[in-house]
């Protein structure tokens, strides 16, 4: 990736995670003139709210008797608009290195897309960790990952003139079946049933290709892979009819949705407790000064994994963050209802 040479992005705070806690961090920090860049591995804001339950009702947001995960996300995005956060989607923070001191923290973060950030404070609002592709329980599949087995298409060229097996019935499986068909030597789509949750127009386009003999469709599941040195030679299909056959292929793409894994956060040198980051309940700061953990990813006595707890946590954490970002400024506690200063920042005065 050529962005490696790109100059570092300077910011007051990097917020890791664009779920409700990350989004409301932008608000609370913004009221204190702390500028934010927000990084999330998903392609959009909302975290679990948009990924797991966009249409499901939430009943315990104070002041909102009922709203869906998507509505909450949309409202939060509207609420933080005045602070013009910069979002970096489809990116995962890989490394977090401390460059400063306990009194004057400074951090360097790098993402898997090669971007570098310099920040005075870091808010980890990573929820249950990062959403990563589910890996099917096929023995030794990991030894083919990145060379023959892919969970996403980064470069179409990796599939040119290859025999490709795609597993799944959702949008990812169908989209890549359709997109790779003109490029690949052959495509075999494998799914456990003859119904598909993917968009109807993709399903009919796929069925037309099957009818025209341009791709194969098999009912069943892949139970094993064959090959050596990371180069796949075949996948073993167990058909729903019980028949086992070998599909000769050089590429395999399993699409089983996403799961939450703690991911690189575990390697940042922070104290961890059962995959959660312990914090104090005054500032929600981690074992490392200047790094805060808010929302579902933190732990403290009495912690409840509720969105409303996350909101409370970010408000308090922002107060301490202000001391790091503006060490010489005295922080005056103000209300948005009455402070002309805050109203100016919100663009409503």
């Amino acid at each position: 990736m050529n962005q490696l040479k790109e100059a570092a992005i300077e910011t007051d705070v990097v917020i890791v995670g664009a779920g409700p806690a990350g989004l409301f961090s932008v608000f609370e920090l913004g009221l204190l003139d702390i500028k934010a860049h927000v990084i999330d591995i998903l392609p959009r804001a909302g975290g679990q709210c948009s990924e797991l339950y966009p249409e499901k009702p939430i009943y315990d947001i104070p002041g909102l008797p009922v709203c869906t995960g998507q509505e909450l996300t949309d409202n939060l995005l509207k609420q933080i608009e005045p602070f013009h956060p910069t979002f970096h989607f489809n990116e995962m923070v890989e490394t977090l290195v401390s460059l400063g001191t306990a009194e004057k923290p400074e951090f360097r973060l790098s993402t898997d897309a090669g971007k570098i950030f310099h920040a005075k404070v870091v808010f980890i609002a990573a929820g249950g960790g990062s959403f990563q592709p589910k890996k099917p329980p096929i023995p030794k599949i990991e030894s083919y990952e990145g060379t023959s087995v892919f969970y996403a298409v980064r470069r179409m060229e990796d599939f040119r003139d290859k025999n490709v097996v795609i597993v799944g019935g959702g949008d990812s499986a169908l989209d890549w079946t359709l997109n790779l068909q003109p490029v690949a030597k052959s495509i075999t789509l494998v799914h456990r049933r003859d119904q598909f949750r993917a968009a109807p127009h993709s399903v009919s386009a796929m069925q037309e290709l099957v009818a025209a003999g341009k791709i194969d469709f098999k009912l069943g599941q892949i139970t094993a892979v064959e090959g050596e040195d990371g180069e796949l030679a075949g996948a073993i299909l167990k058909g729903n009819d019980g028949v086992v056959e070998k599909l000769a292929c050089e590429r395999l793409m399993p699409f089983f949705g996403l799961t939450m894994k703690l991911g690189p956060v575990a390697d940042w040198g922070l104290q961890l407790n059962e995959n959660l980051i312990p914090v104090d309940t005054e500032k929600f700061e981690t074992s490392h000064p200047g790094i805060f953990a808010v929302g579902d990813i933190n732990s403290y006595p009495g912690k409840l994994k509720l969105i409303l707890s996350g909101f409370h946590e970010v408000a308090l954490a922002a107060q301490k963050a202000h001391r790091y970002v503006y060490p010489d400024k005295k922080l005056l506690f103000q209300y948005t209802t009455s402070s002309t200063n805050l109203q100016k920042k919100l663009g409503v005065s």
Binding site: Q48, L52, Y53, R197, F256, T259, M260
Partner: protein, 137 residues
């Protein structure tokens, strides 16, 4: 809890179960039922499930291994996948369309696969036996 005992439970009459699992005074339906989770290694664990809650919630409350339930019961993650014991398949019923769609994201799906956040504990499920898969997420 062992196989033999599960077998005994399955044979118990409805009245016996009602007595044992806290029937309401006055002879109402039982409020608690027995549910047995057999893990992928064959170890069985029997717990009490509260009528009206879900089987997934029952599993979580009792620290049943191999039930991840990442999404917390929204039918949005396929990490509370279970296999329903043959004898119970009729009583637990079939997966809804939404559940079938979500089962596409589970591994080693079989005809008796269900997502247990979508099974509500009912008095007639007293004695229910489920097996959990080795890998959820």
């Amino acid at each position: 809890m062992h196989e033999e005992e599960t077998g005994v439970m399955a044979k118990m009459s409805f009245e016996d179960a009602a007595t044992r699992y806290g029937a309401e005074p006055g002879g109402g339906a039982p409020t608690k039922v027995k549910i047995t989770f057999v893990d992928s290694q064959g170890q069985a664990r029997s717990v009490e499930g509260e009528v009206g809650s879900t089987v997934m919630e029952t599993a979580r409350r009792n620290d049943i291994p191999e039930i991840a339930a990442e999404c917390g019961g929204a039918c949005a993650c396929a990490t509370c996948h279970v296999y329903v014991d043959e004898k119970w398949a009729e009583k637990t019923g079939k997966a809804s369309q939404m559940e079938e769609d979500m089962l596409d994201f589970a591994f080693d799906v079989k005809p008796n696969s269900r997502l247990c956040c979508q099974i509500t504990v009912r008095p007639e499920l007293d004695g229910l036996v489920l097996t959990t898969p080795a890998q959820q997420g």
